[in-house]
């Protein structure tokens, strides 16, 4: 958490000075992508409604290797470490925590909301299996670890870090390897996407140099026309289409029981995908829900896990966009 260290250092310095020290932190999020400066300079008069990004290079490299090259999770992690994409403690990457730290910084810039990092729902890529990539491919898309922050009604912002199903034609679907990408949906600019190197010596150094140049020139950070809304609240729930993968032991009555449980939680089913069963005691199918609250999906999953035919934990992830199926 370089940002926190800088903040406390700065607080200590400024306590002893009359003129406060300004600081810039372009390199703190997505190394070479000018997303911090763009949030500060291109969006002051705009209203952001959604921000979504592939903001961790290590996991994106791993997911690309698993999807495109059919590599196992372990091999993909080993390769990412070998290439220097993983943090010293790779849990920060694969657990989604690095992405969450960055998402929190971006949320402050995009929505003027200050969120306790721990409150942002964070799911890493550790529970993804080969099966999920197979089903994603059947659906015409892939899986990306994405940090999402989105307005949900007046003055409310929801956010999460999670693997997401992304359709093949989505701009983010073709962001592969250790590359990062951030997409901003807003009133004026409609949709802006920035794609580039998330980390690495030269991109990071370039960003640091540009920060120094901006400070040396005396450029000030733009004051938004819509000043940081003090009344914007963070809500730890969101609505989405969801992908739910359920492992099961085949028997009669499964579809009925699924239907009953979904109905109980008010979850409408959009579609069911099931590959031909090869092993009756170790099969899997996938439910795609209509747009429902995360909390309902978690309820469905908990209930399913209590049934005798359900093998081990269920796995759910949001579908990135509402128009994913058009």
């Amino acid at each position: 958490n370089a940002e926190r260290e800088i903040e406390s250092l700065l607080a200590a310095v400024n306590a002893e000075r009359d003129v406060p020290v300004e600081f810039r932190f372009e390199a703190a999020v997505c190394g070479g992508i000018p997303v911090i400066r763009s949030m500060q300079s291109d969006f002051p008069g705009d209203q952001v409604s959604m921000l979504s990004g592939i903001i961790n290079g290590c996991t994106n490299f791993m997911l690309t290797a698993m999807d495109r090259d059919g590599m196992s999770y372990e091999d993909a992690l080993a390769e990412a470490s070998r290439l220097g994409y993983a943090e010293a403690d790779p849990t920060l990457d694969v657990g989604g925590f690095d992405a969450r730290s960055k998402l929190r910084i971006l949320m402050r810039l995009a929505f003027g909301v200050e969120v306790d990092e721990e409150e942002i729902s964070c799911r890493g890529i550790t529970d993804l299996t080969k099966l999920d990539f197979e089903y994603a491919k059947m659906m015409g898309g892939t899986i990306k670890l994405i940090g999402v922050a989105t307005t949900v009604g007046e003055n409310k912002v929801a956010a999460y870090v999670s693997p997401c199903y992304v359709t093949g034609s989505d701009q983010l679907a073709s962001v592969n390897g250790a590359t990062n990408a951030v997409e901003v949906i807003s009133s004026n600019l409609v949709a802006s996407t920035y794609i580039g190197q998330g980390a690495g010596r030269f991109p990071t150094a370039n960003s640091v140099m540009n920060d120094i140049v901006a400070l040396a020139k005396g450029d000030t950070v733009a004051l938004p026309f819509n000043p940081l809304a003090k009344d914007t609240k963070f809500v730890n729930n969101y609505d989405s289409y969801f992908y739910i993968r359920i492992k099961y032991r085949d028997q009669v009555g499964i579809t009925r029981q699924c239907g009953e449980i979904c109905e109980k939680h008010g979850v409408s089913i959009h579609s069911i995908l099931q590959n031909p069963i090869t092993r009756r005691d170790d099969a899997a199918f996938v439910l795609i829900t209509e747009k429902v609250p995360l909390s309902s999906v978690m309820g469905v999953c908990a209930d399913l896990e209590g049934l005798d035919w359900c093998r081990g934990p269920t796995y759910y992830m949001p579908v990135l966009r509402e128009d994913w199926n058009e």
Copy 2:
């Protein structure tokens, strides 16, 4: 040519003042995409080696409609006009001239080279046919009208506006509709892509406002560490893989004659694509060359057109990247 008008206006104003007026022109190229500011702020210490972009929304909308929806050129143009994507004189769009004006501005920023617009090779989308989209699909990609500027050896920059074959996994392949995109390849930032609204009232107004804010704050444009190279020369030729589509009347000896002509011009053939012939007197095949100079391809095309079995003009376009076939 808003930019030229502004320049002459500014020259007139500055002639009567002591302190020169600064001007900014973010909205002049790709409306909502902060590519001008990014070129000025993110790349001063970097070395750009290639800049390529979908910088005309009207033609990209048309190509998307022709490729994805199988629309005819005429219908696509009518639809683009109806939606307000076309210039008052659509020749500026479909002839590639609007893209060329923007490319010239971007070249000045990226390479510090001042080019006479007329010198930049400019091919529009008017000669593309349904057949070309079919062959592009066979090759796994699509066709985009792209403005390209690229270094070719020490202190030399080549540039062109042309339809280009783009592979399906290319970031630019999934930029559809009236959306614009600019990709910059450079030493430090490696590859940066900016995707967004190319035009429209709100994106343009947003850019203009941000320019005004920057001027009001007194932000200055960064001075590059590598100051605009006065010795950088523009060269009106470039090497690339090329796609050549040849319409023909089927007869014996065509392959041999093609081979002879290519050999004469030093053009090595990478592959030949030919759909099953349905009409012997009106068929078409496609040659993909290895990396060769544009001038050689033009020589090959001229020679082919002189043969009795060659029906009407040949059509060539560059393949966007050297690694297109990996």
